[in-house]
């Protein structure tokens, strides 16, 4: 009950945190999808020397620990690092970059698997009806969308739930880089478990809304019919 009262008092700050969370993880997911889906399609559709290695690397990077991703971005964006000039450390941009490192391999790997498991003949049908290479790839992606959407949701879930990377490169600065997960950590560290759980529930509700919107497009689930 305390937690709920507190949430109401802190409404405006929580809204700020929620919006930043959605912005950071949403941007990271969109950027990663723009990289990962075409890359995954390419891997899924083609056979080439080194494909096995590339896939293994992608799947390996799915297990990239957020802290490590954060650390790498930190060292690059640090004033003493190669891109220190940009002064991006402890900004939302840095958080987006770090999350992209985590999400891109997930979307790439799952898109590749989704496309590889669909009938290989989709591409041929598209080509034979006059599609350019790009258009045919687009058709394949669209026909594999259930798997790809699942990949996007997994990637978003990963970004939205992780804390190691955003904590390190964002710094959990109040009113500026504090997101839901870093706020949860802060509350837990102070022993306010109820608050931690309450914020966690908010996070899950948001994720529920996002997944409801996204799943509308996953046709293979036949959600229309019962």
């Amino acid at each position: 009950m305390d937690a709920i009262q507190f949430l109401i008092q802190q409404q405006s700050e929580i809204i700020e945190i929620v919006l930043l969370s959605l912005l950071v993880s949403g941007s990271a997911t969109i950027i990663s999808a723009l990289i990962g889906i075409p890359l995954g399609a390419w891997i899924g559709l083609n056979n080439f020397v080194g494909k096995g290695l590339l896939l293994r690397i992608v799947y390996t990077l799915m297990a990239l620990p957020p802290v490590l991703a954060g650390l790498v971005v930190y060292l690059i964006l640090s004033r003493s690092g190669p891109l220190g000039e940009l002064e991006w450390l402890f900004t939302p941009s840095a958080m987006v970059i770090a999350q992209c490192l985590l999400v891109t391999p997930i979307i790439t790997g799952l898109s590749a698997a989704a496309i590889a498991s669909k009938e290989g003949i989709i591409y041929d049908h598209a080509r034979s009806l006059g599609a350019t290479r790009m258009q045919a790839v687009w058709t394949v992606i669209s026909e594999s969308r259930t798997g790809i959407i699942a990949g996007i949701m997994t990637g978003f879930g990963r970004a939205f739930a992780e804390v190691g990377a955003v904590m390190l490169v964002g710094g959990n600065i109040r009113h500026y880089t504090r997101v839901l997960t870093t706020a949860i950590i802060l509350e837990t560290r102070q022993g306010n478990f109820e608050m931690g759980v309450a914020l966690g529930v908010i996070l899950l509700i948001l994720s529920f809304i996002v997944s409801s919107i996204v799943l509308l497009n996953a046709k293979d689930f036949n959600l229309g019919e019962v």
Partner: protein
């Protein structure tokens, strides 16, 4: 100018040479029937002509240019043909969208698309199914939609892989009529694979018999059915051929 000039074409799958055509010239504006036992390489030939499969060797001239030369492919030329697959795949959307697919790729005006798609769907007798999810259709219905999807593009060349295998007798007649009409009206060249000898007899100007990846006979349809010049052709027609 010939339609296709195929030379030294070979295709190997898993150490088996499934296609090996030294020289095959096809003329324009004709209907060819490709006959041959299962696994003869008929579908593979069509796929290669449509640049969907890369042969291991061989060049192909197409009308006024080089479709395939030393591995270099001209997709622009391939776009002048259209293939109907033996096991056609429906895109998981409505019948209308399936048939509109190729026209949309070509960015035709909305009106034009609507007109041509409706016409093609009427042609193949699927007007009642225009908004039906295409993946739920019956086998024969899918084959009709696949045909409409190709015809609507009015390609120079139609590559048909057993296009009426799952159709009922009446529909076979109707579809044959449509193909013949397209052929006459637009001068479309047609290469159709079929196991239906009657169909070949009804439709084809020329017959190509493929056995074991090789062209055993290529001749005028009348000659082929009446006086097969070749022992294997004779055996194939008699249904006594053992492969």
């Amino acid at each position: 100018m010939n339609l296709f000039e195929i030379t030294h074409l070979t295709k190997v799958y898993r150490d088996r040479t499934v296609l090996s055509i030294d020289k095959l010239y096809l003329e324009r504006e004709r209907i060819y029937a490709v006959l041959g036992p299962n696994g003869a390489g008929k579908s593979t030939l069509l796929r290669i002509l449509n640049l969907l499969v890369e042969p291991d060797s061989g060049d192909i001239k197409f009308v006024d240019g080089q479709l395939l030369k030393q591995g270099h492919k001209s997709y622009d030329m391939a776009r002048r043909m259209c293939m109907v697959f033996q096991r056609p795949l429906m895109f998981s959307t409505s019948v209308y969208n399936n048939v509109a697919y190729g026209l949309r790729l070509r960015k035709l005006p909305h009106r034009e698309i609507e007109r041509r798609v409706s016409e093609a769907i009427d042609f193949v007798g699927m007007q009642d199914f225009i908004n039906y999810p295409a993946t739920k259709l019956s086998g024969g219905e899918m084959q009709r939609v696949a045909l409409a999807r190709a015809l609507v593009l009015r390609p120079e060349v139609l590559l048909l892989d057993e296009p009426t295998a799952n159709l009922d007798p009446h529909s076979v007649q109707v579809i044959e009529e449509i193909v013949r009409k397209h052929h006459q009206q637009f001068g479309t060249s047609v290469i159709m694979v079929t196991h239906n000898l009657f169909q070949a007899k009804r439709m084809a100007d020329e017959v190509i018999l493929l056995v074991g990846g090789e062209v055993v006979e290529k001749s005028n349809a009348e000659d082929f059915f009446n006086n097969p010049s070749n022992e294997r052709s004779k055996a194939f027609l008699d249904g006594t051929m053992v492969y």
